[in-house]
Structure formats: structure tokens, C-alpha cells
């Protein structure tokens, strides 16, 4: 079913993004991806771009290459994201800029450039990454939670702006998943966090791909502007 379908996933060097590459290769997608660093042993049928999502010229070049080589883009997954645990009183402004650049500016640039390509066929799917840190109002993650609140807002407004072009925009909001992103969070903090979920366990990669699979299937063309939080948050 996915024959010839193309997907672009950001932040594929490691973590959730790396898993998603294999997941969508298995479904038969042609997979493109990017991260600031190179990808070790990329699988067949995958093309890696070493691009920072906040770099406008780099993002435009990447989308132009995809357009020239493949002529179409069916799905964009804005997975690239960074976090930083810090009390607000101890948060340097450079950290604020870094988080906003990757999580907000990066998502905006990718949505804009991908939608330009998708609108030619009047059809496309965009999936953004939110987090439960926003609705749970996690202490110590003010900037991260705020950056993802911006992603939620973007998702809701872009859903309306891009609907006439046949593009849906939704977001998945994962609970904690064991990746480098949360490695430095103390165990007792993690336990307290899991306790606030309806279902108290860590998220798995497949919990996330299950939601993305739903958003991007052809039958979901009437589903847009939605944020789906996992774990019952």
C-alpha cells in the first residue's frame, strides 16, 4: 500500500527518530531523514541529510533535493527535538534560544517547506511532536514545555491554513520514553511523573508509531488539528 510513498522524518540519528526510520522502511516507504550529525549504518532505502532543522537554507536545500529526486512528499514527521532540565532561575538565555530554535523554528521551517511540496498534489500528512510535559506543567521543564505548547498551537492553526491544500496536521504527545532525552532526569522525578499518568508505565517506541500510523493512513483524511497524548494524560 505504501509503495512509492515518501516520508521525511527529522532527528533520525538516534532515539525515536531512528526507530521510525526502520518502522517506515518496513512499511515500504521511501524514507528521508535528517539530523545535525551523520547517521551510522543507514538502512537501505533511506537517505540521510546532515541538516539542522533550524537552518533555513539547509532545510530548503533538503526539500529541493527530495523534490528533484522524487517529485513528491507524502508525510512529514517533525520528531527532532531537544530538552533541558533546569529551574528557571538557573536557565541561561542561550539554552532558551537553543530549545526554541530546534523545537519551534525547526518545526515551522519544515512545515512550511514540506507543505510547499505537498500542496502540488493537494495531499499530505504532517505529524508534529508535543509532550505530556506541557499538560502536566512539569516543574524544571518550563522552556521545553513552553516550546512544545508552541508546537501544539502551530499544529492547530496550520491544520486550518493547510486544510484547503489537502494537508492534515496533527501531533503526538509522548509520555517518557527511555532515550537520551530523559537520561539525566532523576529516577524519583521520573516515578512521580509516571504516577500522574492514567496508565503508569514508560512509553515504548511502538506506542508512538501506532499514533503516527493512525494519523497518516489514507482513511484519516478527516482528522486534523488534533493532539493525541499517550498514557491517558
Amino acid at each position: 500500500m505504501a509503495r512509492d510513498r515518501t516520508i521525511l522524518i527529522t532527528g533520525t540519528r538516534k532515539g525515536i527518530g531512528r526507530y521510525l526510520v526502520d518502522h517506515y522502511r518496513r512499511q515500504g516507504f521511501t524514507v528521508f531523514g535528517c539530523s545535525r550529525g551523520p547517521m551510522e549504518s543507514p538502512p537501505e532505502g533511506y537517505r540521510h541529510f546532515q541538516v539542522d532543522v533550524a537552518d533555513e537554507a539547509g532545510v530548503r536545500r533538503m526539500l529541493r533535493t527530495i523534490s528533484a529526486d522524487h517529485g513528491r512528499l507524502d508525510v512529514l514527521v517533525n520528531n527532532a527535538g531537544i530538552a533541558s532540565m533546569n529551574h528557571i532561575l538557573l536557565t541561561p538565555v542561550s539554552t532558551v534560544h537553543r530549545i526554541l530554535d530546534t523545537n519551534v523554528v525547526g518545526t515551522v521551517l519544515l512545515c512550511r517547506e514540506a507543505a510547499k511540496l505537498m500542496q502540488r498534489r493537494r495531499c499530505g500528512r504532517i505529524v508534529n511532536f508535543a509532550t505530556v510535559a506541557t499538560p502536566l506543567k512539569l516543574e524544571g521543564e518550563a522552556i521545553y514545555a513552553a516550546s512544545k505548547a508552541a508546537v501544539v498551537s502551530l499544529t492547530e492553526v496550520l491544520a486550518r491554513e493547510l486544510a484547503p491544500l489537502g494537508i492534515t496536521v496533527n501531533a503526538v504527545g509522548p509520555t517518557p520514553v527511555k532515550t537520551d532525552l530523559i537520561r539525566s532526569v532523576p529516577a524519583e522525578k521520573m516515578e512521580a511523573l509516571l504516577d500522574r499518568q492514567a496508565i503508569r508505565r514508560f512509553g515504548e517506541f511502538r506506542d508512538i508509531s501506532n499514533v503516527i500510523d493512525f494519523f497518516i493512513r489514507p482513511e484519516s483524511d478527516f482528522v486534523t488539528g488534533q493532539v493525541l497524548y499517550l498514557g491517558g494524560v
Binding site: 510547499k116 500542496q119 502540488r120 484547503p164 491544500l165
Partner: protein
């Protein structure tokens, strides 16, 4: 400086690309005088967005020019550069001259 006529040809290519996607009453004629947007214009706001995207794409494909046409400068002008094919070509010419001199 690129000849105005070259730019107009590129805009015609964008029109060719866009027309099949437009409802019949919005389809554009390949003429410098074609009114794109505003009073007497054929495009609605979504049509204009699609036209600008097609024009940016043709500029890249045909002339290896990478421009964001709808930037703050364009939007804050009193006379919109997106009024007709000719005004848009003129605007693109100005932007290219700027980037060559700057």
C-alpha cells in the same frame, strides 16, 4: 541583471504549472498584464499562495534562484508586487539586483 523578459517567461511556466490545479474561473492567462490579485484579480488568497509557491519553485528550477517572495518587504509595500504578472516580474528583478549588489 537578468532580463525582465526571462523572468516573465519563468512566471508563465509557474502559470502553466498552476492552472490545472485552479478552478476554471481562476485560471490565469499568460500575459504581463494579467491581474493576479486584488480588484479585478482572478486569484483568491489561497490561489495567490499557490501561485507564489509555484513561482518560487520555477525560479529555482529554471534559473537556480532561491528567493522567498512573500517576505516582509513585499508585504509592507503600499503597492503590492503581487498585483499583476508585470509588477511581480519587476519586483523579482529588483530583488535580484539587490542581492547582486549587496
Amino acid at each position: 541583471m537578468r532580463e525582465q523578459n526571462d523572468i516573465i517567461q519563468i512566471l508563465y511556466a509557474a502559470i502553466d504549472e498552476l492552472n490545472p490545479q485552479l478552478p476554471p474561473e481562476q485560471r490565469l492567462e499568460k500575459s504581463a498584464a494579467t491581474v493576479l490579485f486584488g480588484e479585478g484579480g482572478r486569484l483568491d488568497s489561497l490561489g495567490l499562495v499557490s501561485f507564489i509557491v509555484a513561482a518560487e519553485q520555477k525560479l529555482t528550477e529554471m534559473a537556480d534562484i532561491s528567493l522567498t517572495l512573500a517576505d516582509e518587504k513585499a508585504m509592507s509595500r503600499r503597492n503590492s508586487p503581487f498585483r499583476t504578472v508585470a509588477t511581480l516580474a519587476e519586483y523579482i528583478g529588483e530583488r535580484l539586483a539587490e542581492s547582486e549588489n549587496g
